[in-house]
């Protein structure tokens, strides 16, 4: 691709930047939600749980099945059930996804990771990769791929936008816009009349009179476009899809619950003790197995919530390979913030979301998938432990 300096200088759509930043935060919140699972498991077990993205995928599937069960699939085009517009189905889907994913998380830990606990770390890593592949391809045998029509329109009553006008166009610009619209319509009718009167069916085969009208119509369209651009430049609206707003708020609430749990409850204290020193915690009478199970429950439930919200509010089409991309980005977010560090995961998730949206905004949307890794490598080269993590000094 030839390098064009204009892309970096003048081509940027500066007024669109705040909108993109908000979108970035919305996506970043989901990354952060998934990253929390990675970071908690890593903090306690020192294990990269590669199957975490697949737990996220299962959360999306649970939401899909539940929405079908509630009758949203059976009535395509027809009237949705009365309760579709209430918040109840969404809350039900969220809770059930979290519960099922927590169960999956327990099963994975119990049957795949616990037997490996005393083995070298690479063995549990390979097991994690194995579980991840098994869930992807095994799921592909059994689970349906979601139809192109996602569950979004039918379950999600919050499709609209919540928008705020920061600066409105001036009255003068609005009136210019109005008159341009009127002129454009007028010319279009005149042209149509002309076509009818001359008795020809094509707009291109016209008399000199018609030619004049047609030129005037193009001029009017130009004027309209210019007026629209003027108005758009001064209009400064921030729009957020309501679904994403719900997603963001849910994420923040879940994170606050998690923070309370980890910092102020006995379970959280035990969890931190296990994360700090596995053996000493066991010696102090902490049931390490129980704490690890709880860690998996919390992490997987958060991933399930993420999967449900991604399927419902973003309308992503659901396949069993859905977890690969989201999982890897969330994992990058966890490492970026310093893996094992809970505020770090949130910060990393938000940063990745922002970086991706800024890349799209700057016109490099084809590199959107790569930017997470670019940011990661750039940060790790200067701060090898992640942003909030600390690089450990190894002793002999």
């Amino acid at each position: 691709m030839p390098f064009e300096p204009s892309i970096l200088m003048a081509g940027l759509d500066w007024p669109a930047l705040p909108q993109q930043l908000i979108n970035g935060l919305m996506f970043g919140a989901i990354y952060a939600l998934i990253a929390l699972g990675y970071t908690m498991v890593y903090g306690v077990l020192r294990l990269i749980n590669f199957a975490h993205g697949e737990v996220f995928m299962i959360g999306a599937y649970v939401a899909l099945f539940l929405s079908w069960q509630m009758g949203f699939y059976q009535s395509p085009g027809g009237a949705a059930p009365a309760y579709a517009t209430s918040a109840l189905p969404i809350i039900l889907m969220l809770v059930l996804s979290m519960v099922v994913c927590a169960g999956i998380g327990i099963a994975i830990e119990r049957f795949a990771y616990r037997p490996m606990r005393n083995q070298p770390r690479i063995a549990s890593l390979i097991t994690a990769i194995g579980v991840s592949l098994l869930l992807q391809y095994g799921g592909a045998l059994v689970l349906p791929v979601s139809p192109p029509r996602s569950i979004r329109e039918e379950v999600n009553p919050y499709v609209g936008q919540a928008s705020v006008d920061l600066i409105k166009p001036s009255a003068q610009q609005l009136s210019a816009l109005d008159s341009a619209t009127k002129l454009d319509k007028e010319m279009a009718t005149k042209l149509a009349d002309q076509v009818k009167r001359e008795g020809v069916s094509s707009e291109f085969d016209l008399s000199a009179e018609g030619q004049k009208v047609r030129n005037a119509r193009f001029d009017a369209a130009d004027a309209l476009r210019k007026a629209q651009e003027d108005a758009a430049k001064s209009r400064y609206t921030l729009a957020v899809p309501k679904g994403q707003l719900i997603m963001f708020i849910t994420t923040v609430v879940l994170m606050m619950i998690l923070r309370h749990l980890v910092l102020f409850t006995p379970v959280g204290r035990q969890m931190r003790a296990v994360a700090h020193d596995f053996d000493s915690a066991a010696l102090m009478g902490i049931n390490v197995d129980k704490i690890i199970t709880i860690t998996f429950v919390i992490g997987s439930a958060l991933a399930g919530a993420g999967g449900m919200m991604c399927a419902t509010f973003l309308g992503t089409s659901i396949t069993t390979f859905l977890g690969v991309e989201w999982g890897i980005k969330a994992f990058v977010a966890a490492v970026l913030g310093g893996i094992g560090n809970i505020p770090g995961a949130v910060l990393g998730g938000l940063l990745i979301g922002l970086a991706e949206n800024i890349t799209v905004w700057a016109g490099f949307s084809q590199y959107q998938r790569a930017i997470a890794f670019v940011v990661l490598i750039a940060v790790l080269l200067f701060k090898p432990g992640g942003i909030l993590g600390s690089a450990k000094v190894e002793k002999v």
Partner: protein, 383 residues
């Protein structure tokens, strides 16, 4: 035999072996020829990753990146430098050299962060380099974007297997020298190694450069073997599969890597043409395997392993599997689903992986090697 006699002899054996493999492959027909060629490439990949991962202990999981660099630079060499559409031996050799050098440069660049990063952080960075590279190639028109790039095709099994033998020989001879010991010392304990005067920087970067150069040469041969590659051929899955070969064979064991590479590459390929089976049977088999593995593991852990103790338990497992298999057929979603085994292969692959890790986490051979010495050595009398 003197020193050079042994060297020349082994070179002769390697060349003869490579030509023999080529003749056998040619005799077996086109499909088998291609499979044997790919198997040779996988051996090169697994052994070269073993040098980085198993022998030097640098946790790299982005080996597909080097393979890709090799393939694309060989393709670009053929298309833009040599500007030829037809195959010739000089072109092929030139491609291999170009692919190897390009991948070695990439290995140098990726090896540098390993000086600051270790463990999981290094793993993520190597994975990330692979992804970045793939996306850049996907967006470069000169390299064919996502549609792929073609090069003059050539099926040269002897060359592929000669490269595999060369890779094995380099790694094996490295381990027999003092240099090899420095590689091992970095794996065992970096801090202690540097305290003993080992230049850790040099060793780490050298491992990355040598390993990636071999992967790059393999990539160049792949490009000319297939005549066409796309970026999707070098996804994360490929890196994981090569890593699996290394771990399954035993990290640090070259013969282990070779055996695991052949097995793990051929296993899914052989399953591809298998018959269609009911999903219920698959579930029953998985349940059976799961229970059996759990029992073997428990028996090993209790130090009471004997086949006699296993037999009644296997019976219980069989009954449980049959019951659960039929039970799952009662679920409407699973009833009557038929699965072609082409889809099944990527399920069996991870199951083998998990079972292997549960039963023998150090890999098939652990750190040991199988060679002539294994068979010629006298058995030591156990106390």
């Amino acid at each position: 035999m003197n020193f050079w006699g042994i060297r020349l002899g082994s070179i002769g054996v390697a060349v003869a072996g490579a030509i023999l493999v080529g003749l056998i492959g040619h005799a077996m027909g086109t499909t088998a020829e291609r499979l044997i060629g790919l198997a040779g490439l996988y051996i090169t990949l697994a052994v070269s990753l073993n040098l980085i991962n198993g022998i030097t202990g640098q946790f790299s999981i982005g080996h597909a990146a080097f393979y890709q660099v090799g393939a694309y630079s060989a393709g670009a060499f053929a298309m833009y430098v040599a500007k030829t559409q037809t195959y010739s031996i000089p072109l092929l050799l030139g491609s291999i050299v170009v692919g190897g050098i390009a991948a070695a440069i990439a290995g140098f660049v990726i090896g540098l962060p390993s000086l600051r990063l270790r463990g999981d952080y290094l793993a993520v960075v190597t994975l990330g380099f692979g992804e970045i590279l793939r996306i850049i190639i996907q967006n470069t028109p000169e390299l064919g974007k996502s549609y792929g790039m073609s090069a003059p095709a050539l099926r040269s099994l002897p060359l592929i297997w000669l490269l595999a033998f060369l890779c094995i020989a380099v790694c094996r001879n490295l381990l027999k020298t003092t240099h090899g010991l420095t590689f091992l010392s970095v794996r065992e304990d970096e801090v202690a190694a540097s305290a003993m005067g080992v230049n850790v920087t040099k060793v780490k970067v050298a491992a990355f450069v040598i390993g990636s150069a071999f992967a790059g040469m393999a990539g160049a041969l792949l490009m000319h073997l297939e005549g066409f590659v796309t970026p999707t051929s070098f996804s994360m899955d490929l890196s994981f599969i090569v890593l699996t070969m290394v771990v399954l064979g035993g990290t640090g064991s070259i013969t282990g890597s070779v055996l695991a590479a052949i097995t793990l590459f051929l296993l899914p390929e052989l399953l591809r043409d298998g018959p269609t089976v009911p999903l219920v049977a698959v579930i029953a088999v998985l349940v059976f395997l799961g229970i059996i593995v759990g029992m073997i593991k428990k028996l090993i852990d209790d130090h009471k392993f004997s086949y006699a103790a296993l037999a009644p338990k296997a019976g219980i497992a069989l009954v449980a599997a049959v019951v659960l298999g039929f039970g799952s057929s009662l679920l409407p979603a699973l009833n009557g689903v038929q699965v072609p085994s082409a889809n099944l292969r990527m399920v069996i692959f991870p199951v083998v992986l998990i079972v292997m890790m549960l039963l023998r986490p150090q890999g098939i051979f652990g750190h040991r090697e199988i060679g002539l010495a294994t068979f010629l050595r006298k058995r030591e009398v156990s106390a």
